[in-house]
Symmetry: C2
Subunit: 221 residues, 2 copies
Amino acid sequence: MADSEKTPGESGVPDAPGGAARHLRADAKRNIDTLLEAAKEVFATSGVDAPVREVAARAGVGVGTVYRHFPQRADLVAAVFRREVDACAAAAPALAAEHPPCEALSAWLRRYTRFIATKRGLAAALHAGDPAFEPLPAYFQQHLGPALESLLDAAAAAGAVRSDVDPNDLLRAVGNLCLAGSEAGACHSERMVDLLIDGLRYGARPPAAADSPPERNDARG
Amino acid sequence: MADSEKTPGESGVPDAPGGAARHLRADAKRNIDTLLEAAKEVFATSGVDAPVREVAARAGVGVGTVYRHFPQRADLVAAVFRREVDACAAAAPALAAEHPPCEALSAWLRRYTRFIATKRGLAAALHAGDPAFEPLPAYFQQHLGPALESLLDAAAAAGAVRSDVDPNDLLRAVGNLCLAGSEAGACHSERMVDLLIDGLRYGARPPAAADSPPERNDARG
DNA sequence: GTAATATGTGGAACAACGTTCCGTTTAGTC
DNA sequence: GACTAAACGGAACGTTGTTCCACATATTAC
């Protein structure tokens, strides 16, 4: 097997084989950025099946430019997805710095909800078997899992939420809540997620006291 | 809501509004049949995304003929699906008449497995949100559920299999087995389904003895 | 600054697809 | 056999993903 295979880098940028990435011209870098931003908006509006031309038009570039940076349609979709995952993961430390642990956690979960909600058609695309989408679920879990874990740990340490929740389980649960009932509208998803967040609060144990049973009377928020 | 909505009939035939179906010309009836058969083969070979032209060519008709009977591509797919569900359901009584209960059951499950295995891409299509596909899951369950139930009941009455299995659960389980690991090849699916069938046999209770505890040493399938 | 050149760009052009259209053929009826 | 409504075939349309290449531009060397 020749390893000349395409190995898309971490973020949205197409490829950076090895360490020394081939120098991208400044305008190219700018265009890639514009394209990803445009694609994100278009996909959110018209679903991930939106035509490439529409993305190109919104970005103000020709289709040739799109295909220069993203050899296949699916590469563009995957790049947008990765970039949004990165942005969502990056929001975690920022929120943690600005808010108390429990607020940071719930704010992040709401942000994550919004992210999932703009992914109309992506679930179907993922299951369609396109090889370009195959590594996405792992990317998802590897980046979002730790981000959520840090928030969960902090909130649990502060005694604001229970401490027996696996971050990846929670990610998946929220994801399913938002995608499964996509017909019922976004507000339904949000309400369900709020419910889930309240569930986290239930059975929280106070910060210092280590082994006294938690104050689980009938906490309901 | 105007009920002039298209209400595709039971089997593969496009529509028969009300009771008196408009008389189809003999050649039309023949072509519909040929088309469904051709589409079944093409979809099995190239997946449900196969082009309409390919189906038309295989049936030896023009595309115009396809679209006369199936106004949309999805209608053709749905019709093929329903027809195969019907055929699969119809196989149950036939198998029950020719084989002892347990053999009939396992033979039918294998036939069902084959049916699922030829549905490459259909799972994705179902989740893609096309309105023409929306009623399919219900059709599936309503027709296949009772068919399997009768076989299960007969086999359980004969003491060949356990009696605590819900037919719809079993349908879904086999379906997931075959669709989820579609990359691993068909033989893997068949082996897993065989395992499932053996699981049914385990813990069967002899026909007459009504209330002696079943021979459930350490029931685990 | 200017020239040289690799790099990037735009959009016409291609192929494949779903779908529509309409001139022609054919089954049903008298 | 003649008539008519139904059905047929396939060319043609609009939309898509993708390729191609003449042209433009950033970068480098001088």
